[in-house]
């Protein structure tokens, strides 16, 4: 048996190294878990693809809308894909907590915020891939985009920040609900209902007065207006929100709204996680 001594001289805890190293480990772990769960990758993509490639062309044919409407809906479906995918990613947090290795990670000598950020990194990467697939499929279907280099920057910034914010929503909800069933029950209200109000299938100006006013407060409305401004060169969505003349000013304001949404939800989600993780 090992000798027992009343006191011990211990090594100093390991000096802090690059904080990205544990973040990379956590992200790699989450990615491996995600790719072993195909539903997390495929299911969120199905509905937007259906809208962009089947429903939008069908509406165009049935209602005799212009080709621009197909592009309008195709970009609008990005506003469905991002919430669905990030919310599905949030479901992984509950699985991790209930039957995975979350407690082991909580006992690791790393700041616990890295657990949230590692998951976010993977949700972000998978969402980016899915958005790229959606756009590629739309182009292959003959839908025309009108994007300049500057427009792509607006689009990428808006989509990226909105993804970060929506993942924060998913992570926060996952930290607050005890069971996956409860999480799934709330998913439509968070990921789908706002999509119908945010100018995805029609401009928000077509909504009844109160709903049009309400829609202006949805981060998704700002995100979609920016996506269309970036990919289609169409600033009407921004105008419906801000009623200004300068498209750049309106885009900057909407980007600020989405950035605030992303920052606030990231902070809230980390706090919610820490609160739920340590009893």
């Amino acid at each position: 048996m090992t000798a027992i001594s009343p006191e011990m001289t211990l090594p100093r805890p390991r000096a802090r190294h690059n904080p990205l190293a544990p973040l990379a480990t956590l992200a790699a772990r989450r990615f491996q878990l995600s790719v072993r769960t195909p539903r997390e990758l495929v299911v969120p993509l199905l509905t937007p693809i259906l809208f962009a490639l089947v429903i939008a062309p069908a509406l165009k044919q049935a209602l005799h809308t212009s080709a621009a409407y197909e592009a309008f809906v195709a970009t609008g479906t990005i506003g469905l894909l991002i919430p669905l995918n990030t919310m599905f990613a949030g479901l992984g947090v509950i699985v991790d907590r209930d039957g995975g290795a979350q407690r082991e990670l909580l006992a690791a000598p790393i700041p616990r915020s890295l657990l949230v950020l590692g998951n976010l990194a993977v949700a972000f990467a998978i969402t980016a891939l899915q958005v790229a697939v959606l756009i590629a499929a739309a182009v292959a279907r003959g839908i025309h985009f009108n994007a300049t280099a500057t427009g792509v920057v607006w689009f990428v910034a808006a989509a990226a920040l909105f993804t970060v914010g929506m993942y924060g929503v998913g992570e926060t909800l996952a930290s607050r609900v005890p069971k996956a069933e409860e999480y799934i029950a709330r998913l439509p209200a968070i990921a789908i209902v706002p999509w119908f109000l945010a100018g995805s299938l029609f401009p928000i100006s077509a909504l009844p007065g109160f709903l049009a006013w309400f829609a202006k407060f949805l981060p998704l409305t700002h995100g979609l207006a920016l996506v269309r401004y970036g990919l289609l060169g169409d600033s009407s969505g921004l105008h419906n929100i801000w009623s200004m003349h300068s498209a750049t000013t309106m885009a900057t304001l909407s980007l600020a709204v989405v950035a605030f949404f992303a920052a606030a939800l990231t902070v809230i989600s980390i706090r919610a996680f820490n609160r739920a993780a340590v009893r």
Partner: protein, 325 residues
């Protein structure tokens, strides 16, 4: 990267030091009620008690996954509240429930632990190989953990905890839910840890044999309080070398009172249901049994035996450990 073995002189500290530690959960449930203890370096220290006694909450506070309500706890001198990263960096924990990534291979589970605990990659690789051999995991490591049996998974979790060469290892009910054969295999594994490494182990259990076999000292915890703390031998010595156990047909408490009045039973005699247990101390069994017969108690059976930790627990808490668990 600095290796675990590069000791830098630091103020000498007990491996674990707990002072007035208390945890009250929301709703007012007092899970741990102001406990104190110290664990020396290299010691195997057991927290023995039934489910709900506060064992896992204590481990949770020491591993910083549960916030203490008041009091302090230090792991290797690091305060778990103000220096949680330092406390976590020199410790590992094996949880009561399975805590693994089931879809990943066993080796990947170990690798993630090594990386998060910042173990040098070459050290981690050789350590994984060594642990796989020692714990009989070599053939399993590249299989998804979901295909492991309960015992294999538990061995993997122990291996994972050891990859980072912790100074302090927490084992929370390490053998609960395992079949007897696997349980004994695991007890061998934990027992070997005592022999081959300078590691402080704190384990919780409600199995008496486990505590007696593995632990240098045992704290018996009951309803959030430590009611006894000593070596197994000293705890048992408190009840003497032998005791008489009799089953009475009438009220056991009245029978006990009668035996006490006659000087046969001392203050440490106790009853559970219809069973009355009397430590003999300096009396002989023959003398005690004769006196019990003279007392004319309606005893349906009478026997003598050596005391066990169960008796210690029973005498201290008034409840049989196996029943409480």
């Amino acid at each position: 990267m600095q290796s675990r073995s590069e000791s830098i002189p630091r103020v000498k500290q007990p491996a674990i030091s707990v002072r007035q530690l208390r945890k009250t959960y929301p709703g007012g449930v007092d899970a741990v009620k102001s406990i104190d203890f110290e664990v020396a370096a290299g010691e195997v220290f057991g927290l023995l008690g039934p489910n709900g006694a506060g064992k896992s909450t204590t481990i949770g506070m020491l591993t910083t996954t549960i916030a203490p309500t008041s009091g302090s706890a230090r792991v290797a001198g690091y305060d778990v509240a103000s220096e949680p990263l330092a406390a976590r960096s020199i410790s590992s924990v094996v949880f009561q429930e399975p805590v693994v990534d089931r879809t990943l291979a066993g080796r990947r589970n170990l690798d993630i632990h090594a990386r998060l605990w910042r173990t040098d990659p070459s050290v981690a690789r050789s350590r994984v190989g060594e642990l796989a051999e020692t714990l009989g995991l070599a053939e399993l490591l590249d299989r998804p953990v979901g295909s492991y049996s309960g015992g294999e998974r538990r061995r993997l979790e122990i291996a994972r905890a050891l990859v980072s060469e912790p100074q302090v290892l927490f084992l929370d009910e390490p053998t609960v839910g395992l079949d007897p054969r696997i349980r004994h295999e695991l007890l061998d594994v934990i027992g070997r840890l005592r022999d081959r490494s300078e590691i402080t182990i704190m384990l919780t259990t409600h199995y008496l044999d486990e505590a007696e076999r593995l632990c240098d000292r045992i704290a018996i915890i009951h309803a959030g309080k430590i009611v006894a703390l000593d070596t197994p031998r000293a705890l048992l010595a408190g009840l003497g070398h032998e005791l008489v156990e009799l089953r009475v047909n009438g009220d056991a408490a009245t029978a006990l009172s009668s035996l006490r009045t006659r000087g046969i039973a001392g203050d440490d005699a106790f009853t559970v249901g219809s069973t009355l247990t009397v430590p003999l101390h300096d009396r002989t069994a023959a003398h005690a049994i004769s006196a019990i017969h003279d007392a004319d108690l309606a005893a349906s059976s009478i026997s003598t035996r050596q005391p066990t930790l169960d008796d210690v627990y029973l005498q201290l808490t008034g409840a049989r450990l196996a029943d409480a668990a």
